[in-house]
Structure formats: structure tokens, C-alpha cells
Symmetry: C2
Subunit: 227 residues, 2 copies
């Protein structure tokens, strides 16, 4: 479902070039469960942004569901981002003036559901991540781990085919992390494709495949034998 | 050096009251190394903000170096925050329009050092956290773990007596976490007081004392026997 060929991303800063990604060729099938790992600065978030159609590569090709993403117009891209992909950002990216409920309900705006149905669905997902009693709080009235869970809930509310989660448990205690990982397991069991960035081997253990980046290149790509 | 008596913090939201901290009585001596742990939402960041003089309690007393903080005027508080305390925020709080170098050099502005000396000292600390080649990047031109390390460098540049670090390794891979922890070890060995919030038992192992919060109260407070 995800197919990249020699993907690269270079940032130009004055006279300096930063090769965030150098040559990424990957195939990820429908319903795979992939953990993306690697040192700080190795290109994980950059790759996730390309896969999530939030950014375009400097070079190379990216096919999503068989369609070359660079040939899609803005409307198609917006549609794909809203319906096909659920993105959990490393820095959450919540809208500061909206409550947790409204933040989570936002992706449902084009779903055709009524406002009350959207709020009901958003509240349900917030409840499933343990924030049923925090739905009216704005992001600055929430703890770090609570904001992270709102970001997770927002990515899941649409039940998108592909979940891209950039370090979804970085701010969570062990018990809460286990709850979030079991939600991702359920989603994966439901047929969705899950790609998550993590630094923690315990979290990566849940995945069926582990891809390691180093300096913008794929260093390792191995099936998780214990599953 | 830090002494709290029945510290509490309540947020009022319409008709609802959120008791973020209920009754915290703690004594932390000079040169202690404390890990603060507990579930997401248990009050860790709220307590850190009170200890860092970034916020004031709803009730209770806080003495820093023998002085009751609530009796200090704004100038004294600003001085304490700038000279005595180095704070690593859970959400980094870097200034978006300044480079990493300028972000890190900011606390030195009242130190009496010349601009070039400030930049030299900032560059040195950035180098020690592995960002010597990223000093001109702005925060949005850095990875999550790189931003976290800029926030850490900024907290250390002044060599403050008390380091308050709110989950300093949440976005870092294992190898980089180990490097950061050894920097904190060195600082602690130099006589400074270190209080760090963490969710990871491996990180907490470095501390001499572990304080666990739950629902705004101290649940456990134990000396780390293995040290
Ligand atoms: N401005 C606010 N208004 C209302 N409630 C708040 C506000 N700020 C924090 N809270 C609540 O206070 C509680 C404690 O928050 P705090 O940020 O201290 O938790 P924490 O232990 O740091 O959690 P985490 O591990 O997720 O970072 C949370 O339940 C949070 O929802
Ligand atoms: N806008 C930009 N301009 C210049 N360099 C950038 C920009 N964005 C990212 N970089 C650089 O690209 C590299 C890869 O960044 P990326 O965010 O993908 O890393 P990462 O693997 O997600 O790291 P982390 O684990 O710390 O989150 C980093 O070295 C970073 O400094
Ligand atoms: Mg990243
Ligand atoms: Mg916190």
C-alpha cells in the first residue's frame, strides 16, 4: 500500500545542505505493523511526513495505494490526508483554542456526520485513551501525556486505513503506554496498517517488522521473529 | 535547599475544580539527585513549575534556600529563575525565531559576559549534547530529539545550582539518552541539585531518591539503595 523508490529530502540552509533522507526504497503492504527506529536526527519524522503526504520529497517517487503522490492535485492530497491517514505528530500539533473534544472531532468535519454524532464519536475515542473526564480542557490545561493522548485520539477518530504515529508513547508512563499499545493492536487486528516511530525496544516489540534508519538511510529492515 | 509544606494547586474551570496537587510536603537537600515519577496527569509538571518559581501554589508554603518564595517580589523571583534554576520544559519552550545558539545563550544575557563570550559558552554546551553542527538551525529546522537537547543545553549554560528537568530524554534514542544522563551525573558530581521527571525506570535508576506522585499526592518516597 506504501511504495517508495529512492526517496530523498534535502534541506538547503544558506550554503549548507542537510541530507535528512538520502535514498529510501521501501514497500509496506496493507495491514503490516512496522516500527521505525533510529538515532535522534536520523530522518524518521522526515520520512513520516513524506509518507503522510504532509511534505514532498526532493527526489524519488512515492506511491500510495498504487497512485504516484506527486501526480495528485491539492484536493486529492487533502482528501487522502483526511480520510486515509491518521497522523500522530511528535509535537502533538493540537489547536490551542479548541477543547480536547473539538480537536479530536475536527477530522470528522467532512465525514457527513451531524455535529452531535461527531462529538459523540470524539468523546468515545477520548474515553478509550483515558481522557473521558478531560474533554472540555484546552491543550494548555492538560498534562504532557494527556496532550499526547488527545493527538492519538484525533488520529484514530476517523478509523483511517493507515496510522502514522511519531513516538506516541514518549510522554506516557508505563501503564498508560500499555493501554495505548493495546489500542493500536486492536486497530491493527481490524485490518489497518500501522507505522510507528519509537525509541523504545519494548514498544517496537509489538510490531511485526522493524526498520532502522541511520543518517537518512535504511540501516536494517527485519521481520520480528518473536511474533 | 528546597522545602515545601502542604503545597497544593487547584485549577478552577467553570464549576469544576481540578486538584492537580493536593498536599505536598517535601524536603530536598543541596546536592540531592531526585527522580520524580508517577502516572500521566499525577501532578509532576505542576510540582516542577512550583519548584521552579514559574507558578504559585493555591495553598501551602515553599521555601527556597531558606526564603519563603511567596514573600519575594517579581525582581527577586526573576533573578532566582535566571541564576539559581535551570529548567528543561516537557514541551521545550524554545523561541521559534532564534537559532539554537541564541536560544541557549539567552540565560547568559544578565551574566555580565560579552556577546562573543556568551556565544562561545552556548556553543560549548551545544557541542556537549551533540549539536555542534546544528547551532544555526532554528527550532523548526531541528528534529524532536534535537529540540529537546537544545532545551537541555539552555538549562545548563548558566551552571545553575538547581536543575529541574521535566522528562529530558522522552524524545531521545537510547544512546543519546545515555549521553545526556552522564552530563547530568557530572553536574550532580559538581555539587548541583538535580530533580528530574521521568517515566522510565532505567533513567530513574541514576537518581539517589525516587519520589512517586499519584493524584496530586506523594505516594512513595524512597532512597535508591543500589547507589
Ligand atoms: N491549566 C489547567 N487547568 C485545568 N487543569 C489543569 C491545568 N493544567 C494541568 N491541569 C490538570 O492537572 C493535572 C496534573 O497535570 P500535570 O501536567 O502536572 O501532570 P503530569 O504528572 O506532568 O503528567 P504527564 O506525565 O502526562 O506530563 C492533570 O490532570 C491536568 O489535566
Ligand atoms: N527544516 C529543516 N531545515 C534544515 N534541517 C532540518 C529541517 N528539518 C529537519 N532537519 C534536519 O534533518 C534531520 C532529520 O530530522 P528528523 O526530524 O527526521 O529526525 P528524527 O529521526 O525524527 O529525530 P528525533 O528522533 O530526534 O525526532 C535532522 O538532522 C534535522 O536537523
Ligand atoms: Mg522525530
Ligand atoms: Mg508532565
Amino acid at each position: 500500500v506504501i511504495s517508495t523508490r529512492s526517496l530523498s529530502k534535502t534541506y538547503i540552509m544558506g550554503t549548507e545542505k542537510v541530507h535528512a533522507l538520502r535514498d529510501i526504497t521501501l514497500d509496506i503492504k496493507r495491514n503490516e505493523y512496522v516500527a521505525l527506529m533510529g538515532p535522534s536526527g536520523s530522518g524518521k519524522s522526515t520520512l513520516m511526513n513524506l509518507l503522510g503526504c504532509l511534505d514532498s520529497p526532493t527526489n524519488g517517487d512515492y506511491e500510495l495505494n498504487g497512485i504516484n503522490v506527486s501526480t495528485m492535485d491539492d484536493n486529492d492530497l487533502a482528501e487522502v490526508r483526511n480520510r486515509e491517514i491518521g497522523f500522530v505528530f511528535q509535537t502533538f500539533n493540537l489547536l490551542p483554542r479548541l477543547s480536547a473534544l473539538d480537536n479530536v472531532a475536527l477530522p470528522l468535519v467532512y465525514s457527513g456526520l451531524s455535529k452531535s454524532k461527531r462529538e459523540e464519536q470524539a468523546e468515545q475515542v477520548l474515553d478509550s485513551v483515558g481522557l473521558g473526564d478531560r474533554v472540555e480542557h484546552k491543550p494548555n490545561e492538560l498534562s504532557g501525556g494527556q496532550r499526547q493522548r488527545v493527538a492519538i485520539a484525533r488520529a484514530l477518530v476517523n478509523n483511517p486505513a493507515i496510522i502514522l504515529a511519531d513516538e506516541p508513547t514518549g510522554n506516557l508512563d508505563t501503564k498508560t503506554s500499555i493501554e495505548i499499545m493495546s489500542i493500536l493492536e486492536k486497530i491493527h487486528a481490524g485490518g489497518n496498517t500501522v507505522i510507528l516511530v519509537t525509541h523504545e525496544p519494548d514498544i517496537a516489540e509489538h510490531a511485526h517488522r522493524i526498520i532502522r534508519l541511520r543518517d537518512g538511510l535504511v540501516e536494517k529492515d527485519i521481520r520480528n521473529q518473536d511474533i
